[in-house]
Subunit: 227 residues, 2 copies
DNA sequence: GCGTCAAGCATTATCGATAATATGTAAATA
DNA sequence: TATTTACATATTATCGATAATGCTTGACGC
């Protein structure tokens, strides 16, 4: 989520040499992304520190970063809680996502002609998950799919901006209130995949913009998730 | 920096009830934005802590946040420096910025009909600075102008994504290598301002996309800055 | 000459303890 | 009763010190 240099490059060479703060951050992200820490949940520094066997410092650092990323929010001398996204936040994110993923489609399409690689894998995974009817897992899979497209664009700025939106949390929240069958939702991504593998930048941009624009909460759309 | 609470300075306004980490963060942002900390400048925790009269902890927290915001970058156990962008990064950012600022123009235009407010103020400030031939100050003013447009869109997600690009640093770097006269650069923003005040979303989006697309480094364009 | 390895150093990463403070509760006051 | 004040409490904010680690340099064997 916060790579030091190009995260697109060699992940294999970089050993898991991470700070405790990094681990704490990843732990919290996972808890939120998997719905165990619901929006509004208070996060107490010493409690989490004890739970993870660290001191308060790494937890505070993780909080700082997550706060900057908009995943949690703090009030000085009072406390920190999982950010409770209002519907307005979900609405606001849509045009921004549409624009970013449109750019991603444009840049990625020429690289994915005939074989969308990770994007195709993510699509298949999403279909598998859809059959299990696990909405939380589906939200995660959908996020993975869209992230794979962003990654395929090979543009660090794009990835950075997209990450800043905090799609994971939005996806979770929207999934909770959307009753669309998961298999239909997953299937609606096929057209995106096909547009990318067609390799036409204009087509890919258009399809992605439209697809993401359908994520407006409150409206009935094929994809149950906003991610 | 320790004993200042008793001061009866500003009773009317909200007291500066912020953490030291916040103050350290703001200090660093200002140093970067005004070019006193150039890209690549190493930031040593204890040095800054001593300079500001705090301990290491608040400085580390500020680093974490700024790192998440993309302004600085850290390598574990080695050090932190002002984000040093390669030319590829500047190139990559252009289509992303163009898309984001296009959305901003679309959203902001209806709100700025006839009077662009802060955006106009920023434009005038940019013109003033351009006459002084202070390229660093101009870079700052240009960033302000574009940020004002993003703000005018009143979309938190948009602001978040735009901030993540680290425009401040890009602007400073591009200004260093761009020989275009500042007054011409400033003037090139007039069409953007006018499009916004015209209140036409389509026009504003189009003008902004084109304007920002001209920020490709290495090419000769009217605006000396990439921000 | 070249590669390997072992201190030493500079700097960060983490800890445990202490200070500071926002908030809720209840007494004091009118 | 309504309002203010004082205080206790829970939690964060900050500190100073120590541990851990990546980098550099130079010795050493080949």
């Amino acid at each position: 989520m916060r790579d030091h240099r190009g995260s697109v490059a060699n992940v294999s060479t970089r050993l898991p040499r991470v700070t405790l703060a990094d681990q704490v951050r990843d732990f919290i992200v996972l808890e939120i992304a998997q719905g165990r820490m619901a929006p509004g949940t208070p996060l107490r520094e010493l409690e989490i520190a004890e739970q993870l066997g660290t001191s308060q410092t790494p937890v505070r650092e993780a909080f700082r970063e997550l706060s900057a990323l908009g995943l949690i929010e703090s009030r000085i001398h009072v406390g920190t809680r999982v950010r409770d996204l209002a519907e307005q936040d979900l609405v606001d994110a849509v045009p921004v996502r549409a624009a970013l993923e449109g750019v991603a489609g444009r840049l990625a399409a020429p690289r994915l002609i005939g074989n969308a690689g990770d994007v195709r894998d993510a699509f298949l995974a999403m279909q598998d998950v859809a059959r299990t009817d696990d909405r939380l897992a589906y939200a995660s899979a959908s996020t993975q799919f869209h992230r794979a497209i962003i990654r395929a664009a090979h543009n660090e700025s794009l990835l950075r901006a997209w990450n800043a939106l905090g799609i994971e949390v939005m996806t979770i929240m929207a999934m909770a209130s959307n009753p669309i069958p998961l298999e239909d939702a997953a299937e609606s991504h096929r057209v995106v995949l096909e547009a990318l593998e067609a390799g036409d930048p204009d087509l890919a941009e258009d399809v992605l913009r439209n697809h993401v624009s359908g994520y407006l909460p409150g409206t009935v759309h094929l994809d149950g998730d906003p991610a």
